[in-house]
Amino acid sequence: MHKFIFCLLTALMSFSLSAQERTFSMIKPAAVQEHHIGGIIDMIEKAHLSIAGLKMQRLSTEQAEAFYAEHKGKPFYNDLVKMMSSGPIVLMVIEGDGAVAKLREVVGSTDPKKANVGTIRATFGKSVGDNAIHASDSPESATREISFFFSEEEIAQ
């Protein structure tokens, strides 16, 4: 009996300790324009990730430049900034166990042609440049990217 209670307590503790990680994602202008918002969010939710913050916005050139500052100087930088500020986008904070890695799995490879069948990019992406969605590449990037767009009050507790 004691052993049972001990196991139960351990299980409860590990459950409460298991990290509800947060990650950041953006649905890019073409996918918004082509009415894939619902389809994309549905795939994220079906992977047992929850939306904890969400808003639609149109980025200014300056915002897009600042967001992608680490890519400044790379050949694709100007096109990327131009594309990301070409229409409204949907910004999201996504939450769940191992959310960063799990979201990247659901999103698929950067190049939609190489992305696994059933991933968001294989379904809705058109090219490396126009690949439907952005997802943070590490927990550190997630923290930085979330705070770039969201105040703590805008995220559901």
Binding site: P29, A30, V32, Q33, H35, H36, I37, G38, G39, I40, I41, D42, M43, I44, E45, K46, H48, S50, I51, A52, G53, L54, K55, M56, Q57, R58, L59, S60, T61, S85, S86, G87, P88, V90, E154, A156, Q157
Partner: protein
């Protein structure tokens, strides 16, 4: 055939069960486009103000407290006859009476926890949109050269 805007809310029950994507999908499939959306946790004052027309009704208190149980998604939907199309896609207030394939038939658990809200008239759509959104938070559905809109607006 008139392009209209209407206000839609995904209620705490549907948000809590991770049905946001499926519900937006049903709107988009019906030709309704999202031009503004944000997630927020309503305050008591916001919920009471939004439902003020129902203030004297017996269900008012329960409705307000239900709307505070978790975050909601407020959206502006745009499309031809958006107000009626939205109401068709949502289905009857009572999910038991809602037609098959409607949002409430698919996702609602009761007459109160009925997954979504939608404006019931052109006049109310205008009032409800203004209740939650500033004009500059509504995004024109254009790519390329930006119109003068939005936070959105550049």
């Amino acid at each position: 055939m008139k392009v209209e805007r209407t206000l839609s809310i995904v209620k705490p029950d549907a948000v809590g069960r991770n049905h946001i994507g499926a519900i937006i999908n049903m709107f988009e499939d019906a030709g309704l486009h999202l031009v503004a959306v944000k997630m927020l946790h309503l305050t008591k004052e916001q919920a009471e103000g939004f439902y003020a027309v129902h203030k004297e009704r017996p269900f008012f208190k329960d409705l307000v407290s239900f709307m505070l149980t978790g975050p909601v998604l407020v959206m502006v939907l745009e499309g031809v006859n958006a107000i009626n199309v939205n109401r068709d896609v949502m289905g009857a207030t009572d999910p038991k009476k809602a037609a098959k394939g409607t949002i409430r038939h698919t996702f609602a658990s009761g007459i109160e926890e009925n997954a979504v809200h939608g404006s019931d008239s052109e006049a109310n759509a205008k009032i409800e949109i203004e209740y939650f959104f500033k004009q500059n938070e509504i995004c024109a559905r254009t790519r390329g050269k930006a119109k003068s809109c939005c936070s959105c607006a550049h």
